[in-house]
Symmetry: C2
Subunit: 291 residues, 2 copies
Amino acid sequence: MKELWKARQALVEHALEEELAKTDVLDAQLRASMTYSLMAGGKRLRPILLMAAADAVGEDGTRFLPAACALEMIHTYSLIHDDLPAMDNDDYRRGKLTNHKVYGDGIAILAGDALLTLAFSVILRQQDVSSDALLRVVEEVSCAAGAEGMVGGQVLDIRAENRTISMEELRRIHMGKTGALFRAALRSGAILAGATEEQLTALTSYADHFGLAFQITDDILDVVGSAEDLGKPIGSDEKNHKSTYVTLTSLAEAQALARNAADEATAVLDVFGAQASFLRDLAAYIVNRKQ
Amino acid sequence: MKELWKARQALVEHALEEELAKTDVLDAQLRASMTYSLMAGGKRLRPILLMAAADAVGEDGTRFLPAACALEMIHTYSLIHDDLPAMDNDDYRRGKLTNHKVYGDGIAILAGDALLTLAFSVILRQQDVSSDALLRVVEEVSCAAGAEGMVGGQVLDIRAENRTISMEELRRIHMGKTGALFRAALRSGAILAGATEEQLTALTSYADHFGLAFQITDDILDVVGSAEDLGKPIGSDEKNHKSTYVTLTSLAEAQALARNAADEATAVLDVFGAQASFLRDLAAYIVNRKQ
């Protein structure tokens, strides 16, 4: 699984560079700022999930690299804006200075805006799919990224700072903040590959369980992970007085919840054959990762 | 002309409220912040232009209110981000406190992000047009709003501060910062109405001349306008050491340039009949406006 991931990560890196190169960015510093964050590495998890969903349906996922890149652009823009002084005020991300520390707050905001907007242009660069499928992907992505999804979750998160929240509130925050984009990734891959309704439902359910497993593991790593592996300091949730799956339960219980979510993600894949083996392995991997 | 404008402005206000109401915003304060800026009045010029382009082609422009609303959402998000302390640092807009002065910088950034993203969802709510026309509108809007257009122009503008620029540079800044979205408005209206290539070319040309006339008049009003009419202090370009059409030429020459651009905008409408009379009147009006 790790080899396939690495191979596809390399494809994504190359495709992201290509999509940027195709774009007539009016200002060189804006291009530099967009490139700085977009090409800063990372797991490329959302593109990988989009392609894996298409694989599961029986298509070659790599056919859908443009749509996959669009999701990574949206993820990257959200990180640039989240790191701003007006939000989390982080100086480092993946061991590198954050965008606004290098380019200033104004350019960082605009580079984020530009990446979000470019994502929609890049979806439309997707070749050899029907217009209706493309429109459905635009819809999935715009709903997932905005007030109903990622941005909404980010606001809920800001407003939950410095108070203890319920498990249900925490779930709502993460369903928006990270869950919605995972869902859009898997559903978009499925739609582009021509999934049946049953397959689409299964992959949506996988996305939700996977997202939960991913998030709980994130909370666990912030307690027991290594700053070196993570590329950022640990203990930030405690420092910021954030409620997490660990603080609301216990480390042991959070670990059990994460394993459980990963098992459920795997279980809903029963409607697929061997073509979903990557997604199965990914669910197991995501709770055992170190970064 | 003014009566039709007012009637359509009212339709836009109503449609904007409806589109917001249809959206499941996850957080009440986020909704309040989005609503505050979106419903703060304004000329609604981009929606009006989109509908007028469709009229010119022989359709009823009011059929395309969702697409028209999408352009206003993008315009509004750009104002929210432009007003931030990290950019122009403005406290007032249209006589009201700016978004970040009311909701704080973090929520203001996210409300802008949410409006930009929502615009793409709202385009897809447009009924009774072909999938291909919708995709073309998504493409027009995403290219116009991003690094190749509005955001690119905004970065050029920031980087031109405190130095004298050439007329050609000033033109490039405005073609991006305001021209691109005018172009997207007119082209989207034309595309939705099923324009011929000749009609599309004429309306694109109208957009560019109109945008120039609009921008030069903006620069003139910042010198000779009234703060009361404009809802913002005058003299801000001088205060911010900005190059404008007035500083690079003279007041009289800028006025002549604006009239000239308006005349050219009118001239390219010759391929249309009486259905383009609103656009003709609009070009004349835009250089004589007080706000």
